[in-house]
Symmetry: C2
Subunit: 365 residues, 2 copies
C-alpha cells in the first residue's frame, strides 16, 4: 500500500518534484529576462517553499498581508515587499516590522503618504501603478502620479523605491497571445512612466511587475527590473486553461474520499467542499463549469474527461459521477492560492511517498 | 473615538447582543416546537458561542469535521454529532474520540457500516436520509434504506441512534412559503420513515432535521425529536434575501478600510477580499449580484442602497463607489459560515465597544 492510500482525507498534497521544477523554471526565466525575482508567497504561505525560492536565486519575497510578513520575518526572511496599498490602521505594525527587516511598502494616494510620514519612520515606498488591470494603483497617464512620486522622493523621511504593478488582467485573457500582449503593454506602461520620472530627475531604483501568466509567457521585459509572480510554484486548473502550464506541472492537489454515492442521482459526494477547495469558480473560459477537476492518473497527470466537482457546500463536494464509497479522488483545484489557504499544512509528497508536513502560515489576526 | 475606529482592519466583528438574541430565539423556537436543539457549530467554530448555546438549553452540538469535534471535546463538550457521512480513513480517529465523549456518527452506505463494525467499537450511528436536498443520504423510499437500518440495529457492536436529514434545498427557495413547504415535506419524509421502521420493530430514538431557514420558519415539526440549525447564530445576507431574518438580526460583519480609490473608474478598493469574506456568490435570488453588502448605519442596520462589493480577489475587494482612502466600511457577508472560517478570531463587540477576542477553531489537519 502506498503512503497515500492510508492518508486520512481530505488532505492537501504538495508534489515536491513538481514544485521544485516550477521554482527552478521561473528562476531561469528571471535570469533570461535579466530581472530580479521576488516571488509572491501569498500562494503558498510556507517557509520551506520560500527558502527553496531564495535558494534558487530569489532576491526577496512579496507578501499580501502583515501576518504573512511577520511569519516570514520571524523565520529570517529579511527583504519583504508588502504588495498591497498600505492599510492606514496598520501603519504602526509596519513601523515595528521595518525595524527588524527591510520592509517595502506600496502606496497610491496622498492620504497613505501622509500616514506614513506621520510615523517619522524611514519607510521604503513604491508607487502602485495601474497598468491596465484597473483595480488599485494610480493612472500612469495622470499628472497626479508624477506629483505623488515627487512628493515621496522629496519626503524628509520616506525613501522612493520605485514603481510596482500587477497585470491581473492577464487572468481575463482567452489566448496566450493575448497574455503576451498584456505583458508587453505592462512593460511599456511601467518603463514609460519610469523614463518620465527619470527625465524629471527622480531616481527609480525598481520597476516591479508581475503575474504568473505574464511572467511565464513574456518574450522580453524591457525596462523592468523585478518580477513578482506567485502562483507558478503550484499552478492550478485556471493556469491550465490559460495555457501557462500543463496539468503535469501542477503541484497542488486535494486528496478526497467518496463518502456517499447515489447512482440514482448520477453523482457521489466527496469530503472536499468549499473549506477544502475554496469557492473559486475558475476561469469563465474553461471548457465547462467546474469547481475542481480530477486526475485520472498520477503522476502521468491525465485529467479525467468526465469526473469533476459540479458543486460545493461547506464540507461536501458533488462529483459528476457515482463512485463507490471509499474511492479516493485527487482533485486539481481551480485556484491554488485560495485552496492552500484552506489548510494548516501541506502533506509533502514525492511520487506516492509521504515526506512530511509543512506548515501553511494562513493566520489572519 | 470608539473602539472600532482604531481597530486594525480587516477585522471580523461579532455583535454579541445580536448573537445572544439569535441564540435565545432559536432556543425558544425549539421549546415551542417540542424538539431538542443541537446547534451546528460549523458556523462559528467557537467554544464561547457553543457554551452560550448550551446555556440556552441546547442538548449537545453538531460538528462538520473531526477537527471541530476534537476542539470542542477538549473543552468539555461531551455530546457531539458528526453530521457528515463517515470518512472511512478517519474511523480510527472516531474510535479514539468516542472513548472520551458521546460521539454520534452518520452513515448512508453498507461500506461505512462495514468500516465501523471492523473497529469493534460501540458507535452510535444514525442513518443519513435524503429528504429532498439530493446531496448525500439514502432515498427514504428505497427498501435498501430499511435494510441498512435493520443491519445497524442488529449489529453486534453498533447502536442505532435514529434518522438524520438536512434540508439544504431550503436554500434554493424563492419565498418563505416555499421554505415552509420544504420544512413540512422534510418532517413528513422523516416521520414517515421513522414510523415504517417502528412498524418493523426497530426503535428510533432520534429523528433529527435541520437547516436554519426551515427551523426558523416551520410552523410545526410533527414526528421530529431534534433540530440542528447552525447559521442562525449569525445569519448573513443570504438569510436576509431568504426572508429568514432582517439585516438587524445579523451578528457577523467584516470591518474593512478603503485602501485605494479611483473616481475615474467609479470604484474603490477595500482590504477585504476572498480570504476575508470567502468567494460565496450568495443566493441567485438576490436583487443584484453581490460579493458582500455594506451597512449604511450601525446598529440601525440599514443596508446601503448602492455600496456593495462587486468583485473579490485574494486580498482586494472592489467597492461599487469611490470613497476616500481610510474610510471604514462594515460589510455584511453573503455566507457567514464561510466568512468565519477565514479568520482565527472574532473581535467581540457590544455596540461599538470591544469586549475581547474569541478564537475560531478553523484548523484543518
Amino acid at each position: 500500500m502506498s503512503d497515500l492510500e492510508a492518508l486520512p482525507t481530505p488532505a492537501l498534497l504538495l508534489d515536491l518534484d513538481r514544485a521544485e521544477r516550477n521554482i527552478e523554471r521561473m528562476a531561469g526565466r528571471a535570469r533570461e529576462l535579466g530581472v530580479a525575482l521576488r516571488p509572491h508567497v501569498k500562494t503558498h504561505k510556507c517557509l520551506e517553499l520560500g527558502r527553496l525560492q531564495l535558494d534558487a536565486g530569489a532576491a526577496g519575497i512579496t507578501v499580501s498581508t502583515l501576518d504573512e510578513a511577520r511569519a516570514f520575518a520571524a523565520a529570517g526572511f529579511d527583504d519583504l515587499t508588502w504588495a498591497f496599498p498600505v492599510i492606514l490602521s496598520r501603519v504602526d505594525e509596519c513601523r515595528e516590522l521595518a525595524e527588524r527587516v527591510t520592509l517595502r511598502l506600496v502606496v497610491d494616494s496622498d492620504v497613505a503618504v501622509d500616514a506614513l510620514e506621520r510615523t517619522g519612520a524611514a519607510f521604503r515606498v513604491s508607487l502602485k501603478v495601474d497598468c491596465g488591470y484597473h483595480r488599485a494603483g494610480v493612472d500612469p497617464g495622470d499628472p497626479a502620479a508624477v506629483r505623488l512620486v515627487e512628493r515621496i522622493a522629496a519626503s524628509p523621511t520616506l525613501r522612493f523605491d520605485g514603481l510596482l504593478s500587477h497585470s491581473g488582467h492577464a487572468y481575463k485573457c482567452e489566448t496566450t497571445e493575448e497574455i503576451r500582449r498584456v505583458a508587453a503593454a505592462e512593460c511599456a506602461v511601467m518603463s514609460g512612466l519610469a523614463d518620465r520620472l527619470r527625465g524629471a530627475g527622480i531616481e527609480v531604483p525598481t520597476v516591479s511587475v508581475g503575474s504568473t501568466p505574464a511572467c511565464t509567457l513574456a518574450d522580453e521585459m524591457p525596462g523592468v527590473t523585478e518580477i513578482r509572480p506567485g502562483n507558478y510554484v503550484f499552478f492550478d486548473y485556471m493556469q491550465v486553461v490559460y495555457g501557462t502550464c500543463s496539468a503535469a506541472d501542477t503541484a497542488l492537489s486535494v486528496l478526497g474520499s467518496v463518502v456517499s454515492s447515489r447512482p440514482d442521482l448520477g453523482h457521489s459526494v466527496v469530503d472536499a467542499g468549499a473549506l477544502a477547495l475554496s469557492r473559486d469558480p475558475g476561469p469563465s473560459s474553461a471548457p465547462r463549469p467546474t469547481m475542481g477537476e480530477t486526475f485520472e492518473s498520477y503522476p502521468a497527470a491525465e485529467l479525467s474527461p468526465d469526473l469533476r466537482l459540479v458543486s460545493l457546500s461547506q464540507e461536501h463536494g458533488i462529483l459528476s459521477r457515482p463512485l463507490p464509497v471509499g474511492t479516493r479522488v485527487r482533485i486539481l483545484p481551480n485556484h491554488s492560492c485560495l485552496t492552500a489557504a484552506c489548510f494548516d499544512e501541506y502533506r509533502v509528497v514525492r511520487g506516492d511517498r509521504l515526506l512530511g508536513r509543512w506548515r501553511i502560515h494562513r493566520q489572519r489576526s
